[in-house]
């Protein structure tokens, strides 16, 4: 076994720590070492977007980043969206507007949409489509997702 490194980071506001090989991908560290399986892993090479998280407030693919690179960082995963048992306005909007079917792409869609709305709080439909083109969905045909993101943009706190 190669030398292990210690990774300390904050995930959804909680200090976490783990030890892993330097070649361990961040997504696998989140799922296997920290037990946070809400972040999905699909293609493992940056194409599908299922693994998207917020790294220091910005959406990023956790499958093409090493866990050791996140040492000292602040992460937000899909588990951090709901507060006190109440869904985030984006999650509410996805539920309301059929923004998901099987749910596999949903964690990535939500985290990508969150960065989109934070950097562009009043996106046009064109801009929403461009933003979510970062994540592949095999189920919905995307229209429900576009509707959900548009609705969330109009909800107070939608980009919280």
């Amino acid at each position: 076994m190669a030398d292990l490194v210690t990774v300390r980071l904050k995930v959804n506001g909680v200090e976490r720590e783990g030890r892993c090989e330097p070649r361990k991908l961040l997504v696998d560290f989140l799922r296997e070492d920290l037990g946070l399986t809400g972040t999905h892993v699909g293609c493992e090479h940056g194409i599908c977007g299922a693994c998207t998280i917020l790294l220091d407030g910005q959406a990023a693919r956790s499958c093409i980043m090493l866990a050791v690179q996140a040492d000292g960082a602040e992460l937000m995963t899909v588990e951090g969206l709901a507060q006190d048992g109440k869904l985030h306005p984006l999650q509410e909007a996805f539920r309301e507007h059929h923004g998901l079917q099987c749910g596999f792409c949903t964690p990535g869609m939500l985290m990508t949409s969150l960065d989109l709305l934070r950097t562009n709080p009043t996106p046009t439909d064109e801009e929403i489509r461009e933003g979510i083109s970062a994540v592949l969905c095999r189920c919905t045909g995307y229209q429900g997702i576009v509707n959900a993101v548009r609705a969330a943009a109009r909800t107070p706190g939608g980009s919280r």
């Binding site: 790294l55 910005q58 093409i64 050791v68 690179q69």
Partner: protein, 288 residues
């Protein structure tokens, strides 16, 4: 574990990074945004002995306007380029091109230096560097050198950077105020690499064209500067016939390869069509 084993180093200065690269004598790879390198590692298509991660070198991330040019630290994220007011005002072609580079969550990590060092023949930044006649600064064991765009790109995914060198800065000349610019691209999906893209700048003086710059992505192993097409505009001006002739000439100047995405003929055809569109749109924003 997906990637193969490697030693991992995260130096905090360029000197330290250079010493590490020298120690591995060409068997180490620089890790920038990781958006091209990590997929290669996950597939085990790349098996470096070590990774030298530049992400903990803060001095490599900046955007500065100086001496008629805009300089970018190699680790400047594509997303920072996208939102930079300096870029928008001084090198608007780069701002426009950035929206075509991958997707939001990739641009937050991907860097300007990495995109250029990676030299993907379908990438937008190498085309912009070529069209704007920019240059890069490399640092290595023998010190620092400046490499012009035309001397940088050698072939597919290959630049004239030495394995022990680090690309530290990208320099683009300021585009004259009032110049027209456009990046036209055809890709299957937004965010995919270009099938063909054309980067273009025109400086006009009435119907005369005092400077035209055209460069391609996706038409062969390296970006192609369409000099003979530029000359038509600089000689004949910006009338319909000249634009048409320049576009036709552009398609003759490339010898693209066929791959699963498009045939060579189709790429050649696109080169003409996109050149025409880029020129028309550039003239729409040009003043003078």
């Amino acid at each position: 574990m997906k990637p193969p084993k490697f030693d991992y180093h995260a130096p905090t200065s360029v000197d330290e990074a250079l010493a590490l690269l020298a120690r591995y004598g060409g068997d180490a790879k620089v890790l920038a945004g990781g958006q091209s390198l990590m997929p290669l590692l996950n597939f085990r298509l790349s098996r470096p002995a070590a990774l030298v991660d530049l992400n903990r070198i803060p001095s490599l991330a900046y955007i500065r306007e100086e001496q008629g040019r805009v300089s970018f630290g190699a680790m400047t994220r594509q997303r920072a380029v996208e939102f930079s007011p300096v870029v928008k005002a001084r090198v608007p072609l780069l701002a426009e091109a950035t929206r075509w580079v991958a997707h939001l969550p990739i641009r937050t990590r991907g860097t300007i230096g990495g995109s250029i060092a990676h030299a993907d023949p379908s990438a937008e930044y190498p085309a912009v560097l070529t069209a704007l006649e920019g240059e890069v600064v490399a640092r290595g064991p023998k010190g620092e050198r400046v490499i012009e765009a035309k001397d940088l790109f050698q072939t597919y995914l290959t630049t004239s950077l030495e394995p022990e060198e680090i690309l530290v800065e990208v320099r683009l000349p300021v585009t004259p105020a009032g110049a027209g610019y456009a990046l036209e691209e055809f890709a299957r999906r937004h965010g995919d690499f270009a099938i063909v893209a054309i980067a273009c700048v025109v400086v006009r003086d009435g119907q005369r064209c005092t400077r035209a710059r055209l460069a391609t992505a996706g038409t062969g192993p390296v970006p192609v500067r369409l000099r003979a097409a530029e000359e038509i505009l600089e000689r004949d001006g910006l009338g319909e016939a000249a634009l048409e002739a320049a576009a036709r000439r552009a398609s003759e100047l490339v010898s693209p390869d066929a791959d699963i995405h498009a045939s060579a003929d189709y790429r050649r055809h696109l080169t003409g069509v996109l050149t025409r569109r880029a020129l028309t749109r550039a003239l729409g924003v040009a003043r003078g």
